[in-house]
Amino acid sequence: MSTEFSNETLKKDSSNSGLQIVKESEEDRLMTLSVGPQHPGSGHFRFTVKVDGDYIVHCDPDPGYVHRGEEKMCEYRNFIQNIPHLERPVIHDSNNITYSYSLAVEELTNIQVPRRGQFIRAIASELNRQVYTLYWLAIYGIFLGHSTMFMWPTGDRELFIDLLEMLTGARVTHAFNIPGGVRNDMPVGFSEKCLRNISYFEKRLVEYENIFYNNPLMRQRTEGVGLLTKEDAIKLGVTGSVLRASNTPYDIRKAEPYDVYNEIDFKVQYMKSSDCFARAYVPLLDMRESCYIMRQLLDKIPQSGEVRAKLQPNPKGPAGEAYRRVESGRGALGYYIISDGTPKPYRVKISVGSFRNMLALPHLLVGAKLADMPSIYWALNYWPVEADR
């Protein structure tokens, strides 16, 4: 980008009745574009960009269009009643957003989850991760103008939605994790169906690579675009696939294994190239790894046993605080809960990956081309509703 402007235009000055040379200022060259909230490529989110020709010189995120005050609402409800509304920010990943909440409440109230319950939780969490990532991938496809890549993941998402519906009874908002375990046991025939769907899905991932990831046009659009170096990624505190695409193998499931994840053998998927392609490709690797994790979980799950610890309708523990994290589809998802000994939490702070990744948006967009805006924005794995809470 050049910051010096030598364009001089002739403008007619009415007072002087003659031609006067007016120097074009920098601001005159810039055009402000509002991306969102009624823009097809924004979601419930708005950011204004200023473009100089085809280059973005300024970016100002303006979230809050779907701010619902989840944290405030939590203070008025008891620990169990918080679950249905806490999963609203990201209904595609609702098992993960209630997972860390349940973990934190269990830490506060000293509940031990039965082993089978822990496994079912992990299975539901992995299934939901697939649902979210497929949805994300579908949108990424349409952001790059690839309509087939929108339809295929949206269709294949049904595989996991069907499984989740079989397991939890709901298709998107599951309200399945609960302090003390899970709401119900696995139905008969679940694991066979799950294994069948997983093995079909693994074949589909090859097709995704053929038509989308290995397509030269997609590579041209994403490779070398939006470079986020490891140092910058750490400085900005991004998380999830964005962090792992920047050559930092950090995954909460590995770094701080919760429930049964320390018994599962898996690798943290990361890439070194730090560009949009890496940020788009890491979720695919994640999905593949997630299939592998699910097979192990279904293999290792105890055949019988309790799935939910008995707890009183209004669980409460001693005063204290807990900060627990899980790895969601968008990275670390932490709950900081302060309890004052009553059945209602005193303060709940949700630390979500989307909010943290938003900081990278101006960092990456400034200096990029306008045509790269969709690929950079959506590769950040940013879910506006979750960021607003």
Binding site: P84, A170, N184, K310
Partner: protein, 165 residues
């Protein structure tokens, strides 16, 4: 010429799908089959029984009017209100039973978890459209009706792809 190879692979992958079965579920004609009879809860064991969480069914011969479902719903959706019913039951002295506003209900099923008398379950029925909001308020008498749901389609997976039949 890796880029040409990429194009050829993409074209091959795309044209391969021209002969694969379609995935779409043709909804109003065909409906999905669900596991079980809907979400139920066993208060003795303290754990639910897997099933679809559709609209509720209320067993009048078991409901005692204890209001636990309404209390459970209080901080969630506030969809359950207790109303007087014109029925005489020995176990329901106050003659009150839950009435559910499905315009507010979020189908979390925590009211089912709260019921200690096996009186409130959920069913497979999810087609709850109505022309007015008042019609979405189901009285205890309406909740007692067992809905007819005839979903029969399941996801089939074979060599030629996944399909809903």
């Amino acid at each position: 010429m890796t880029s040409a190879g990429g194009f050829i692979k993409a074209i091959e992958s795309g044209s391969k799908h021209l002969v694969i079965k379609r995935f779409t579920l043709r909804y109003p004609e065909k409906k999905l089959k669900f596991v079980g009879d809907g979400y139920q809860f066993d208060p003795k064991r303290g754990v639910g029984i897997a099933g679809y969480r559709g609209r509720h069914i209320l067993f009048h011969d078991k409901c005692t009017g204890c209001q636990l479902c309404a209390i459970a719903c209080e901080g969630i959706a506030e969809a359950i209100g207790m109303v007087k019913v014109d029925e005489k039951w020995k176990h329901n002295k106050k003659s009150i039973m839950p009435q559910i506003d499905f315009g507010k209900c979020v189908f979390c099923g925590l009211c089912v978890d709260a019921c200690p008398f096996y009186a409130l379950y959920m069913t497979d029925d999810y087609e709850l459209s109505a022309f007015t909001k008042e019609h979405l308020i189901y009285t205890p008498a309406q909740l007692a009706v067992k809905p007819k749901y005839d979903g029969s389609v399941e996801l089939k997976i074979d060599d030629r792809g996944a399909t809903h039949g």
